[in-house]
Every structure is written in C-alpha cells, then in structure tokens.
Amino acid sequence: MRSFLAGLIGASMLLTGCTTKNEGPKSRLDLIKQRNEMVCGVSGKIPGFSFLKSNGTYKGIDVDICKAFAAAFVGSPSKVQYRTLTAAERFTAIRTGEIDLLSRNTTFNLSRDSINGNSLTFAPVIFHDGQGLLVKKNSGITSIKDLAGQAVCVGSGTTTEQNINDAFEAISLPYTPIKYQDLNQVVAGYLQGRCAAMTSDRSQLAAARSGFKNPKNHIILQETLSKEPLAPASIGGDQKLSDAMRWVIFSLITAEEKGITKDNINKKVEIAQNNPQLKQLRRFLGVEGDLGEKIGLDNDFVIRVINATGNYGEIYNRHLGPNSDVPIPRGLNKLYTQGGLHISPPFN
C-alpha cells in the first residue's frame, strides 16, 4: 500500500508538469510577430524535404516553406528556429505550443484535421505523394503479392503503418511488419536484409535510395498503396494563423502561374506600380488594396515571400528537380494548367 501511494504521488507530479498555462495574445501569429522569430517543426532527416547539412543549416522543400512563412510573418526568411521532430513527437509539439507550426512531410487526413482527432488545421498541400514499396532488384519481387508472408520494414506512428496493413488485408495475404521509430533505422533494417521490402512515401523512398551505395540495385514498385498529400499544419482553432499560412502557400503557387520569380520580382513590382490597369497583379503584389492586412500581414507580404524563396516551381526545382540531389519527376505536383494538381484560389 505504501509503495502504491508513493507511485500515485509520483504520477501526479509528472502530470502537473505537463499542463501549460493559458497566457499571452490570442493568436499564435501575434505571438510570432511579438517574438520576432518563428519556431518551425521539421524532420531534418529526409533529403530534398528537410535535411541537416554538414555546415549546420537546413535544406529542403519543407525548410523553404518555413522560410516563406517567416518572410511573410516576421519579414525575414532567417528568423526561423528549426526543431527536428520524429513522426511520433510532431503532433504533441504543436499541441503543447513547443512549435508554432509544422512543416514536416505530414499527410493531410481526416483524423488529423478533426477536432476529435489530432485537432490540427492544415495549410494547402505542398507535395502530392503516394506510398510505395522499395525492393532489391535481384529479389524477383515485382508486386505486393510477391511479398506474402515476408517481412516489411516500416516506420511506426505514421499513416504508412496503417496503409501497408490495409493493402495486405485487401488481398488477404499475411505479412510481418518490422516497425522502427526512425526512417534511418528502417533503411538500416532493409539494407541489412531484415526485411524483403521497405515502405514509405515514394518521395522518401527516392530520397533514401539516393544515399545508398548502389542506388540502381533497388527499385520502387509500380503499385501506389495510398495517396499522401503532404501539407504544413498548425493548431486547430487559430483562424488568424491558419489563414495566413494558407495564403502564403497560395501566393507561391499564384506567383508560378503568373511567371513571377525571384529574379524578376522587382521588375514585376515596377510594372505593377506604373500600370494602374493591371488590377490583378497590383492586388497580388499589394501595390493596391489591403489583401495582406485582411489576413493579419503586411500588404507587401507576397514580395517578401518571393524574394526569400522564389515561387513554388523554383522551390521544387531547387530541391527535387532533375539537377538536384533527389530528383523526383514533378508529375502531380505540376500546376493545374500543366496537368498537375496545384491550383490557387484568386487573390481577391
């Protein structure tokens, strides 16, 4: 009895430490501006998305999205503090307020968005992905059916885990999931032969394969097990922050559509200033109207964003384009005008 009581007291002390006080301004956006710095949750382990380079800086499409937000919110892409988070930690980090927002190849789905689920709010999708399977070329495996009864390495605490299960259930075949907490361990388990295949989003498979000794000895199977729209996220119920995030992403897409790039942005601003008849361009760049103010930002936020990162296409090419370290064909991630899925509502 005595040790039970002692345990109970210990448990209660632990829980007291977990709770946070409600203080400060209402929206997280005000807090970011007041602090003059943004805290962004990233993975730090996925080349092309967010990767810690040897000189201590972060690089990747997720990182550039953080920079775009920081340029819009606090005026400079360098006023960002990055936090590396595992898949399992990321939602708790948002809930407890440890980070302002999450830009960590996170799949947008119902349970994460809903108030009775993870209670997040998602910004528009920045990368349309799908789950795939990576196998050794000489293994003779050509489809998921060939994996019946074999071990598959998978990262735990992700939608990946559920998708691979659904895929095997659908064809009523048994398999053995070997679950690791970290993508690096999944890769190690696969390369050392613990599993016949590893599964993850195709982009992550491509990124991981780029680091192998002989990338050509491994193939990604044609089958796509799921759709994985990856999107930045913030805490649910904070409209001011989520609106601002949403329109920063849309501004990247609109800029690509309008052909506005990092190089020609200053020229475009000049054109807008000198031609009062170009209403759409003037509104978009904040030369006229108050679209920025409406979402709690400065009217010229688009100019700052494009100056910092370039448009969506430029960000994509820098990290995932044909000349990058992790080339992934653009496919679904083209603009809607070119047969892809990226479209922005009008800046009106």
Partner: protein, 299 residues
C-alpha cells in the same frame, strides 16, 4: 509533547499532498476543457487496424485498441520475465567470480562489468541488433541444425522455437546490461559478510565452491535483496527501449495508438498505470522473498 509534534508534521504533509492533488486535477481539467479535449476511453474499443509482428495470443488488425495494448503488455512481460531470470544468473556468477580467488576469472568479470557499465544501454541495444544480428550473413549453426541456428531473422532453438532478431537482441542487451549491475550488487553483499566466515568454512574442510554457495551467499542475501529489487525495477523500465530495435512492446504500441487516435493523455495514463502495476508486482514478489529469507535466518 513529542506525540503532538509528530501529529502536526503528519497533518502538514497530508495537507501538502491534498493541495498538490487538488492543483493537479484542477489544472488538468481546466486545460482539457480549454483545448477541447474530452477525456474518454471509448476509443479503446475501436479496431486498431495495424498489424503486429509478434503476439503471444491471437491478434488481428481488426481487434480493438484495448486488445492491442494488452498484447503489448504481454510482449513486455515476455521480455522482462526472461531477462530477469537470465540476468540474475549472469549477475550472481559474475559477482561471485569477482570476489573469488581465481585471478583470470576475476579479471574477466571486472572488465565485463566495467565495459558494460560505462556505455549507454540504448547504444548497446543498437549494437546487439544492427551489428550483432542484422549483419549475420547466411546462417550460423551451433553445433548442428537441431540445437541452435543464428541468422539475421533471429534465433532458432531445437529446430522449432523461433525467436525474432528484435526479441533476441532486446533480451540479450537487457540481460548483459542488468547482469553487470546485479554483479556489483552481489559483490557488495558478499563483501559485507565478515572475513572470518571464509576462514571458518575452510577450517571445517569445505571446498571453495560449496563454501561460498552454502555459507557465504545465504548470509549475503539480506544485503543483496534490496539492491536486486531496484535492478529488477530498472530492468522493467529499461524494456521500453524496445522501440529502438523494432520490438512491439507496450511502449511502442502505445506510441502508434497515440499517434493514430490523438489521445495522448489517456494513452500515457494507461502506459503509466500498466508500468506501475508491473513494478508493484515485482516489488511485492521481492518483499515476499525478503520475508522468507529473514525468517529462515532467524531459525
């Protein structure tokens, strides 16, 4: 006068505890309402929809979260129970060797203890798993296929007991680690026995082995047991590092469940309670042993 003072102290401590609880519960409920989290355990009955590589009882992804958690608890138990027994054996043998007369055994035991105690357990587990098991090419057979086969899929004993690489490396890692600590506890216990006892058993003509086993160890046990209990409790808690080598223990499964359902507070409370329960069982068992030993010594 003295009685009155101790009464005041007790009332004071009671009051502090009460306030602590009140603040905790108040704080928790206010924050739960504020963040719109309705505290409930209904989700436990929903289907888990993830598969498990190892399950001592029948399990399928359409079973409930509650059942998945229970399977995880059993998986943890499977590791803890076996590791407890083997690490006790390793610990006692090493501890005795360390205090014995054989210089070679003494050096081996001392270097094992030093090596293991100076490196972190997480690193050791990764070592056993990634370097130990996964880098085995093909199969290693000792001495023939019917007895022991090692491969990067795990251990096969007597031809039909299959232990996965994850389970085996976790058990090996935990026993080797805890064994070193138990050895130190055992050494401390043996050193607490007066030197005269050695001379005593030698003078009545007992040889070294049976002297230590029959005369020294029984007298050392009361000093060993408390330390042993805390090593056992540590072992149980350290088993949560299973997640590092891909073994589906209760912590790994809770982790997945919390991620899927978003029920972090409920999930952690369940996790906390299941470990409290487990460690209380270990404590009670050790108390029971202690009682038996003290009785035996008094006779």
């Amino acid at each position: 006068m003295k009685g009155l003072r101790s009464l005041y102290i007790q009332v004071g401590i009671g009051l502090v505890l009460f306030i602590l609880f009140a603040v905790l519960i108040n704080n928790l409920s206010i924050n739960l309402i504020r963040t719109n989290l309705n505290f409930s355990f209904k989700w436990l009955y929903r289907p888990a929809s993830f598969a498990l590589a190892e399950h001592p009882l029948p399990y399928s992804p359409s079973d409930s979260y509650a059942w998945a958690l229970f399977i995880g608890w059993l998986n943890s138990l499977k590791v803890i129970f076996i590791s407890l027994i083997i690490s006790t054996l390793i610990g006692f043998i090493t501890g005795i060797a360390r205090t014995g007369r054989n210089p070679l055994l003494k050096i081996i035991a001392a270097s094992y203890i030093t090596l293991i105690r100076q490196t972190p357990l997480l690193l050791q587990l990764m070592f056993w798993y990634f370097v130990g098991f996964l880098s085995i090419k093909g199969t290693l057979i000792f001495p023939n296929e019917r007895i022991l086969v090692l491969s990067n899929q795990g251990i096969k004993i007597f031809g039909d007991i299959n232990l996965t690489a994850e389970y085996s490396s976790l058990v090996i890692g935990l026993t080797v680690f805890t064994g070193a600590y138990i050895a130190e506890v055992v050494r401390g216990g043996i050193n607490s026995v007066p030197r005269g006892q050695w001379e005593a058993f030698r003078s009545v003509g007992l040889n070294e082995n049976s002297g230590v086993l029959k005369i020294i160890i029984p007298q050392a046990l009361p000093a060993i047991l408390p330390g042993l209990t805390s090593q056992y409790l540590n072992l149980a808690k350290n088993s949560t590092l299973a997640i590092a080598v891909g073994y589906a223990d209760i912590y790994a499964i809770s982790d997945t469940i919390i991620n899927q359902t978003g029920r972090a507070i409920e999930g952690f409370i369940l996790l906390l309670l299941s470990f409290l329960f487990l460690n209380l069982i270990i404590s009670l068992m050790m108390d029971f042993f202690n009682e038996i030993i003290t009785k035996y010594q008094k006779v």
